[in-house]
Structure formats: C-alpha cells, structure tokens
C-alpha cells in the first residue's frame, strides 16, 4: 500500500525544500545582485535588495581592467585537459579494480582517498620547488598536471563505483559470446558505462574549474584561470564589492550554465533493466 501523504503535509514539505534551497542559493543570488549595484549601494546599510539603480558599469570596468577572455580560456584549458587526461588514466585503473580485484584492491582505494585528506598546503612547498626546477610556474601545462593528479583519486573512485554496478554476468555473457577482451570493453562495457563516465567528467570539470588553492599559488598573470581573476579583485583597500561580485558572476556563469544543461546526464540511470 502506498503511504498516505496528506495535502497539507506535501505543501509543508515543498515549502521546507524551497526554503532550504533558497538558503543555500542566497549567497550566489546576493553576489549576482551586488554585481549590478554601484559600489555605494553594495555596502549600503540597511542593504538594498531589488530596488536599486541597476547598472552594468561594474562589468564594463572589470572587462576593461582585466582580460576576462584570457582567464576564461585558461580555465577551460586547465579544467578540460586535466579532466580528460584524468579519465584516460583512471578508466583502466578503475576497470581492473572493479572487475579483477585483488586482495589489496580495497587498501589501494583507501590509500588513494587518503591523499585527499592531506592538507594541500602541506605539499605546497615541495611542489613549488619542483615547479621552479621544471620551469612550470605560471604555465598551463604545470597546472594541468597538478589538477589532474589531485583529482585523480576522485575520478578513480567514481568510475570504480559506476563500474561496480555493471553486472559481471553481462561481461561474462560477452566472453561466452566470443568477444575478446578488447571487444568486451569496446562494445559492452564502455557503452554501458557512458552515463557514469559522463557524470565523472562533468563533476571533475566543475571541481577543477573551482579549484583555487593551487591556481592562486602556482600561477600569476600568464596562466591564471578565473579563480585567480576573482582573487585579483578581493583587495583590502578601496570599495570593490560590486566589482568583485561582477568578476565572481562572470567566473561562475559558464560552469553554472554547463551544470544546468547537464542535469539530466548527472542523474541518469545506469542500467536499463538488463538484469531482473
């Protein structure tokens, strides 16, 4: 029997859900609103909500002062290339762990995850020195490498989880049907794992896009992505709230739009009733 949920109860739940959603979204909304205010209105007390003189001036100033497109390009290249490279490395790793596990597989997975528990600043010094030595400071190549490596554990974990959900019997069926290992991976596993690989790509792209610690520490003017672009407006002196907000809005807009369009991909089911 289906649980009886009263109308009032449903309305209440909906209201609560919206409330929590708005609460979480509020800082983003505030940032976007502030970006359309003048600097004076941005720090007005009491704060003004919707009724202010909407202006695009901040965006014009920001674009004039710094080259948004260059930062955007850096962000796209660093997040994109590091994600694709990460997937290429992680797919075989996750495959072997999911389908031919050894006694140590669980330990290896945990060990990989434990590297994420280390405070990043703990390895900043050695990595900085290595970067100086290899002349990678403020280069996209350097950032791509670091970004790929720091996100690799998460990619492997995610893919491993997705692959684990693919029933082994289907792969065995392919083996019985005469498929070689290559054919099994190409025609059976990969198509079935596409939703999982896509969500991993997407999430990792977002993570790399938002990464600030390494981008701020390892880049300067040349290879800086959008996170560095935002940071350049958070100066302790002067009235820069509105401009900082405009910069932030410009930085988060692309990823927000990408996330919006790929919602379906992120929640799409994995198998379509092959089993049971």
């Amino acid at each position: 029997m289906a649980r009886a949920v009263t109308h009032q109860r449903k309305t209440l739940n909906t209201a609560i859900a919206w409330g929590i959603g708005l609460l979480i979204f509020f800082p983003v909304l505030w940032t976007i609103l502030t970006s359309f205010k003048t600097e004076a209105q941005a720090i007005a007390d009491p704060p003004v909500f919707f009724f202010f003189d909407w202006t695009l001036e901040n965006y014009a100033v920001v674009q004039e002062r710094s080259d948004y497109m260059r930062y955007l390009l850096n962000s796209v290249i660093i997040a994109g290339v590091s994600t694709v490279l990460g997937i290429v490395v992680a797919v075989p790793a996750a495959w072997s762990m999911a389908f031919v596990p050894s006694r140590r597989t669980k330990d290896i997975l945990l060990w990989m995850l434990s590297t994420k528990m280390l405070p990043a600043v703990g390895v900043l010094y050695p990595i900085y020195l290595i970067f100086i030595e290899l002349e990678l400071l403020d280069t996209r190549t350097g950032l791509v490498i670091v970004m790929m490596l720091i996100n690799l554990p998460i990619i492997v974990w995610m893919l491993y989880t997705y692959f684990r959900e693919i029933p082994g019997e289907i792969l065995e069926a392919a083996r019985m049907d005469g498929a070689s290992l290559r054919e099994e991976i190409l025609y059976v596993l990969t198509p079935m794992a596409v939703p999982g690989i896509a969500s991993t790509l997407l999430l990792n792209f977002i993570l790399a896009w938002n990464e600030a610690f390494w981008t701020l520490n390892l880049t300067a003017a040349k290879a800086g992505p959008l996170t560095a672009f935002i940071a350049s407006y958070s100066s302790p002196e002067g009235l820069f709230y509105a401009k900082l907000s405009a910069a932030s809005t410009m930085a988060i807009a692309p990823i927000l739009i990408l996330g919006w369009f790929s919602q379906k991909q992120l929640v799409r089911g994995l198998t379509f009733g092959a089993v049971k």
């Binding site: 065995e172 069926a173 049907d177 005469g178 092959a274 089993v275």
Partner: protein, 334 residues
C-alpha cells in the same frame, strides 16, 4: 557435437575446496541436469565447463579436445544466465546477433540466423525493442536466442528459470525441453529445483558439497537412490526417514518411505499416529502425521478429498516393496 569428459576436475578458492576431484562424462545430445542444494558447487562446476572459472586441477575435454585452458570464447559453448545478462544498450536484434558479429559472419547470414531464431522463439515482433521493454519471459527467450544462433556444441543453463513466476516457469520448462528435442544438442542445466531436474533431464547429476552423490536417469534416482541424501533430495514431497526400532526390524540403520507409498486408513494399519497439518492440493492431500518415537512428522499422500482433521488418529501401512534401507553410513542396502 558436444561430448564432454571431466577428469579429476577440481576447484579450490584459496583454502576452501569447492569441488574435490570429480569425474563425469556427458554424451553428445544429452540433457544433463546438475541439481543440489544451494552452495553445493553446481554453478561452479558449470562455470568451470564454460571456462569462466579456471580449474585448480584436472582436465576438461570437449569432443576429445583438451579445453582445460581454452578461453570461454573459444570453447564453442553458449550460456544462458540466471539474470539473462542481456546487453541493455542493444536492441533484441543486436543482442541476438552479437555472437555472430563477434564471429565476423557476413551480414546476410547474420540476418538469416537472427530471423530464424526469432521465429522459433516468437520474438519476431520484438526485434527492435530493448531488453528493458520486455517481460521476464521474453528476456529469457532473447537470452536463449542469443545462445542458439551460434549453433554451439553445447548449451549451458545456469538456473535460467528462477527469476520467473511459477506459471511462466512451467511454460519455459516445456519450451526448453521442446528446443532440446528439436536441436538434439547437448544441454547442461543447473537448478536447485528437483522438479525441473526430474521433468527435463535425460541424466541427473546430484551434487552435494561439491561431490557427485549419484548420476542416473530421473527414474533411477527415484527408484534406487544410492544414499540418504539423494533419497531425500529427489522426490516431492521428500521421502520420510525412520530410525530406531522400526528400522531395526528391517535390518537397517534407517529406512525411507515416500509419501506416495504409504496407505492411510482411519481404522487399521501397521503404524499409528496423530494427524497434524494437512495440505489440500485438490488432486492430492498431504497429511503430516506425528508418530510416537519420531522427531519429524511423517508425510503421507492421500486422495484428494479425505475426511481427516487435525488431531485425528490415523493408521498407516507402508508398501513393503518400496521401503528403502540405509546403513549407518547413509548408504543404500541392496
């Protein structure tokens, strides 16, 4: 052709022996059923034959050729899995033709074989659907279709009907038997359901803890079970076992008598007991009778409409010709 010989085949997982060395011969065209309780190693044995598991020791020969280390794809066997294991992203047509594509058959031949299999299995109208859009029985037929297009040396079935509901199961059972009659290809069928084993098999292999307890035709196993395990496993409802004075009277450690070989009577008989639960099936009634000095109730088959109630006194007479005697090792005394 699909003659198989297993010589001293053995399987261990680490320190756990799943299948101690066993020998088995399967003739070409035979319908062989591996039956046993869960965990008896029947599926493992099938997977060893399929090549999905490596043997720890011994030799597997398929049509005289040593196939022990041959990968599954090259053994020429087709398998139907319990979960059907269809490719969810492919249409029924693509699913069935998958083995043919792997074998690089030309397109026309692929189409011909798929159409033929679909016609045999009543799948023609569903060829362009995906597995997710099919019912359980249809999915099972697709899995069988994928197996038959290859024209394999033998079919391996791993509990193929256990995900289906009871009515469908009976139907599919007949279809598989029918298919065997038509193709005359060796089939090895794993099940824990002794009814499936009895109704489908030419030859039943009863497994228990990885060991073969007995090999024989369904009626051989029913009439002359080699030991108590087989006696108790084959036949439904299961055989009654009596120990103590009743067994000693027959010079045995235990005697077994099937429910259908006991005559119940309200007035007179060799044994006396009290009726417990009775199960009315319409055609038959199974009475569970409590007897003095017996731990388990004795099951008795009676006619469809019997006037016996809980608590009534009942007399029973076993058919002397159908009493099975077992020694203290549980082995049959001839």
């Amino acid at each position: 052709m699909g003659r198989m010989v297993l010589e001293k085949v053995e399987k261990r997982f680490g320190d756990v022996t799943v299948i101690p060395p066993l020998d088995l011969e399967i003739e070409d065209g035979e319908f062989v059923v591996f039956v046993g309780p869960s965990g008896c190693g029947k599926s493992t044995l099938l997977r060893l034959i399929a090549g999905l598991e490596d043997v720890t020791g011994g030799v597997i020969r398929i049509d005289g050729r040593d196939a022990t280390t041959v990968p599954p794809a090259k053994r020429g066997l087709a398998m139907v899995f319990q979960s059907y294991a269809l490719y969810p992203h492919m249409t029924v047509r693509k699913n069935i033709s998958f083995p043919l594509r792997m074998a690089k058959l030309d397109k026309a031949e692929q189409d011909r074989r798929v159409e033929q299999a679909a016609a045999v299995l009543n799948l023609t109208d569903y060829l362009d659907r995906r597995p997710g859009q099919l019912s359980g029985g249809q999915r099972q037929r697709v899995a069988i279709g994928r197996a038959i297009v290859r024209e394999p040396a033998a079919f391996l079935f791993d509990e193929p009907l256990s995900n289906l509901d009871a009515a469908l199961r009976v139907g599919m059972r007949l279809e598989i038997s029918e298919l065997h009659e038509r193709l005359k290809t060796t089939m090895i069928y794993v099940t824990h359901d002794q009814v499936e084993a009895m109704t489908m098999a030419d030859k039943i292999v009863v497994l228990h803890a990885g060991r073969i307890e007995q090999v024989g035709s369904p009626l051989e196993l029913y009439r002359t079970p080699r030991n108590r395990f087989v006696a108790g496993f084959i036949g439904s409802p299961r055989m009654n076992f009596l120990e103590g004075p009743e067994a000693r009277r027959h010079d045995a450690s235990a005697i077994g008598i099937r429910p259908e070989h006991i005559m119940p009577s309200p007035n007179e008989g060799a044994w006396k007991g009290r009726v417990g639960v009775s199960e009315h099936l319409g055609s038959d009634t199974f009475l569970h009778v409590h007897m003095e000095g017996c731990a388990d109730p004795v099951t008795v088959r009676s006619g469809g409409e019997v006037d016996m109630h809980h608590g009534d006194t009942i007399y029973m007479t076993p058919d002397a010709g159908h009493i099975h005697r077992f020694d203290d090792q549980g082995l049959r005394i001839a």
